[in-house]
Symmetry: C2
Subunit: 351 residues, 2 copies
């Protein structure tokens, strides 16, 4: 914030040094983000409940869903991906976990003056390749340039429109206390990959982002388990922890994870130990969490494992009765511990 | 650009100090923007021709249009509006000039750490009020926070989805050399209002932005003149000049404006003289340019004048045979002069 000129003397409210300020935590996708949305956004707009990743149009003739995402990842390129592919898969996945197959995408660029055009071309190539992989058309866009110093490099917004899949998850409201929790793949890959690129850590084998489209895996899950699939969320900012805390917020159920069941690669495990992070809080960009009725959970996992992106899908925990602790984790050696929801901002600009 | 870490060592291209860079002009909406889109965007994506403001979905059952816009205006508040209302009307207008009535809107916030929450609340109130005025629902959103210094204040993306009006303009391809050019209101209000707020100029009567929804005026125009309406564009970045240069680019026609006919307020005229600007290059946010067949042009103007927002609508020029000069202006005293298209960036961050 350079000076008060940012909002100008025409701002109708008086701002002092005591005024409450936006903090990095408001963008972390966990508790502070939820609170901001509940307090500031929901009272003003007809945004759906549950902060769902996508909204369904009240459209007479066909079921269309919409999702939007601005991407601010730093650095722009990281092992396994870049801001271009991330922006496509991020929005495609928001639609997928809502039960919609992305068809159309808008692309809005906010570019810092001085960005090398070759960098922009790489990013656009990546957008185009990712869109082709997902069979979505980029149909319109917008280009803004901000003066040097007014935005760091490149911010990329995509908004996606998708068509309803055959089955649509009913939503976290419907989770029952006997349901199983499935993770579709290994945890923490994306956050650790971006961190390692940003901080220029040198690992012998650098962690690679899991950035990938989840549409096929979601369709396979819904085909295998149908109405038994209560809710699906991609575990992005705030990781698996943020998804389960959000689902638990209604107070209708709690969740217990089993550490021994969590799919975490040795690379991520090692990096998390060094960095003092828990993979459950680290962002993924190609992993979802699903709540599935117990009777169909094994079949659901088997269906997911048939696809390369979700070949490591596994049951990582279960829902339970509502209690004092919304999410607990049963450690490998020892009793169940509460899984706190961090209010700080461990990993800004991860997506 | 802090350092090469912005795109990181994982960037697949080698960037040197000689690499071509993005300039402010690439975001001005005029020639450099068009060239960037033609060279970088069009070869990669199925973006419609003519850089239209909105795209139509290839949708089996109903005609739906989509438009996206990121807003970076500085300062956030200015006489007559703010980034909130601007973001709603900007996208609603992109749909309107394409012949679609906005129905649904997404809202994506990229916020600088440290922005006072009261400022954000003002902006969101403004979004909500503008959305209500346009009868659009804000159905989903996204919130990102960037660390202090990584983005200046607030960037706001809206993506709109709209339904086809009864008539849809056929597009600038169909402009004929006898068509009239209509401006729907006084020129240059928005750009001058933002500049005066940014630079803290003190005018006795400060210019007020024209930020407003154009849907009703477009509908009135299309209802009055139907198929005679060849093309409509809102004259935002780059002003009326940018619209006519873009339409002339196909080479099928040229345009001649009459200075004596241009609706420009005394305030804007005075400010433009002081600042060395021509109102034809200054951004509007509540004015469109339309090419209408001569036989229906008077009726079109009469229909527009019945609505408050377009009560100063008037014929400002006409199309002509293709020639060496795409756009000329007949000055009040003297012969026709070429209206150059600026390649520089006179007014960054105006929307």
């Amino acid at each position: 914030m350079k000076n008060s000129g940012t909002w100008s003397s025409y701002c109708p409210v008086n701002i002092t040094s005591e005024s409450e300020k936006i903090q990095l935590a408001h963008g972390e996708g966990a508790r502070a983000t939820r609170q901001l949305i509940r307090k500031l956004i929901e009272p003003r707009f007809s945004i759906g409940s549950h902060l769902a990743d996508a909204a369904w149009l009240e459209h007479p003739s066909e079921h269309l869903a919409v999702a939007t995402d601005s991407h601010t990842v730093h650095p722009l390129f990281f092992p396994g991906g870049d801001i271009g592919s991330l922006s496509v898969y991020g929005t495609v996945n928001d639609l997928a976990v809502s039960g919609a197959k992305a068809r159309w995408l808008t692309l809005s660029l906010v570019i810092e003056e001085g960005l090398p055009i070759a960098v922009l071309e790489c990013v656009l190539d990546s957008v185009a390749e990712a869109a082709k992989r997902c069979e979505v058309s980029v149909i319109c866009g917008d280009t803004k340039v901000m003066p040097q110093g007014a935005v760091d490099g490149l911010v990329l917004n995509t908004t996606g429109i998708g068509q309803a899949m055959r089955f649509i998850p009913a939503g976290p409201d419907t989770i029952e206390s006997t349901d199983c929790i499935i993770a579709s793949g290994p945890l923490g890959q994306h956050g650790i990959a971006v961190m390692s690129a940003r901080e220029e850590f040198s690992f012998s084998a650098p962690p690679v982002s899991d950035t990938a489209p989840l549409t096929d895996s979601v369709e396979a899950l819904l085909f295998a388990a149908g109405d038994s699939v209560r809710a699906i969320r991609d575990a992005t900012r705030g990781g698996v922890s943020a998804v389960l805390h959000e689902w638990a917020e209604s107070g209708a159920c709690s969740f217990e994870l089993k550490q021994s069941q969590l799919p975490v690669s040795e690379t991520v495990k090692g990096a998390c130990e060094v960095l003092g992070l828990d993979p459950l809080y680290v962002a993924n960009e190609g992993v979802f969490v699903a709540a599935v009725a117990k009777k169909d959970a094994e079949a659901a996992v088997a269906a997911l494992q048939k696809l390369p992106i979700s070949r490591e899908a596994t049951i990582v925990g279960q829902a339970g009765e509502p209690g004092m602790t919304p999410v607990t984790i049963r450690r490998i050696l020892g009793a169940a511990q509460p899984l706190d929801e961090p209010s700080g901002a461990p990993l800004p600009r991860i997506c």
